[in-house]
């Protein structure tokens, strides 16, 4: 009972935060678009649209939480599905919202690129680098969460001894390596990440796993 109450508080707090974040993003987006009209910088308008798409992502995430997680928070497991499946369904709002976030980050990077100009032989592409890194980071983080769920499902429902966990384990390692890249700056991690992703399907074809 206490566990359900704790989940309930967490869900409501998350929904409230998401709604507040969406309202703030809508306001900031409007402000950027107004500024864009005033000074004639198209980049600012694209940045404003990025914030509106971000707000849409937050709303989708909040609605997904309200729809799926609140019954779980109150201890009503629908249709007698296993608890793991219920918990995965509770997170579907995040999954539905992730395309919005991807579009928003991309628009933000485009906005910064468009809004900056080269002075003294520099490249305006460098101005967009922080956001491109953020997009890359969040993309890998979302994939890690999805893959961890797939691994958990495979471990629970998959045939014992099959290659599924190795496959998902390698994919998880590949995206974890990608996540470490901005921190370590070691270019080997790029190749390691690609190699792990490339090798993962081979595990499914291995004699013990492909059957």
């Amino acid at each position: 009972m206490r566990e359900h109450a704790a989940v309930g508080v967490g869900v409501y707090l998350a929904v409230l935060t998401a709604f507040l974040g969406a309202a703030a993003s809508l306001y900031l987006g409007r402000r950027l678009c107004r500024l864009s009209r005033l000074v004639g910088d198209r980049g600012l308008c694209i940045g404003g649209c990025a914030l509106w798409v971000y707000a849409a992502g937050l709303l989708v995430e909040a609605l997904g939480l309200l729809h799926a997680a609140i019954p779980l928070a109150h201890g009503h497991l629908a249709l007698g599905r296993p608890e793991l499946v219920e918990r995965l369904l509770a997170g579907r709002g995040v999954l539905l919202a992730s395309p919005f976030y991807a579009v928003s980050y991309t628009l933000s990077a485009v906005a910064i690129y468009v809004s900056h100009m080269e002075v003294d032989g520099g490249s305006r592409l460098y101005a967009a680098v922080p956001l491109i890194v953020q997009l890359y980071f969040d993309f890998n983080l979302v994939l890690l969460a999805v893959l961890a769920a797939a691994l958990a499902g495979t471990l629970r429902y998959g045939r014992p001894g099959a290659a599924g966990p190795i496959y998902y384990g390698m994919l998880i390692l590949s995206h974890a390596a990608a996540l470490l890249l901005p921190y370590s700056g070691a270019p080997e991690l790029v190749y390691a990440s690609t190699m792990l992703r490339g090798a993962a399907p081979l595990a499914l074809l291995a004699p013990s796993g492909g059957r």
Partner: protein, 90 residues
Amino acid sequence: MTRRKYRSQAGIILDILEALEREGPLPATRLMYHANLPYNRLKETLARMLEEGLVEETGEKRYAITQRGREALRVLRESRRILESLGYRL
């Protein structure tokens, strides 16, 4: 003043408008110094600002801030922190 290799258009416009508000009408050569911009970039930016009605040409090839320019300057100052947080180099 150190010269930055890339800058946002909003940041450049802010520098130009602030200089014009502070010093009154200025020629392009003086604006080059205040905006820390090479001549070709400054001319491009001034052409766009004239189009948007932020500045106007006065006699003797000088540029002056307009009422719309003052309004833009106010909004830009208010939004400085937000813009910098979002990655726009001012």
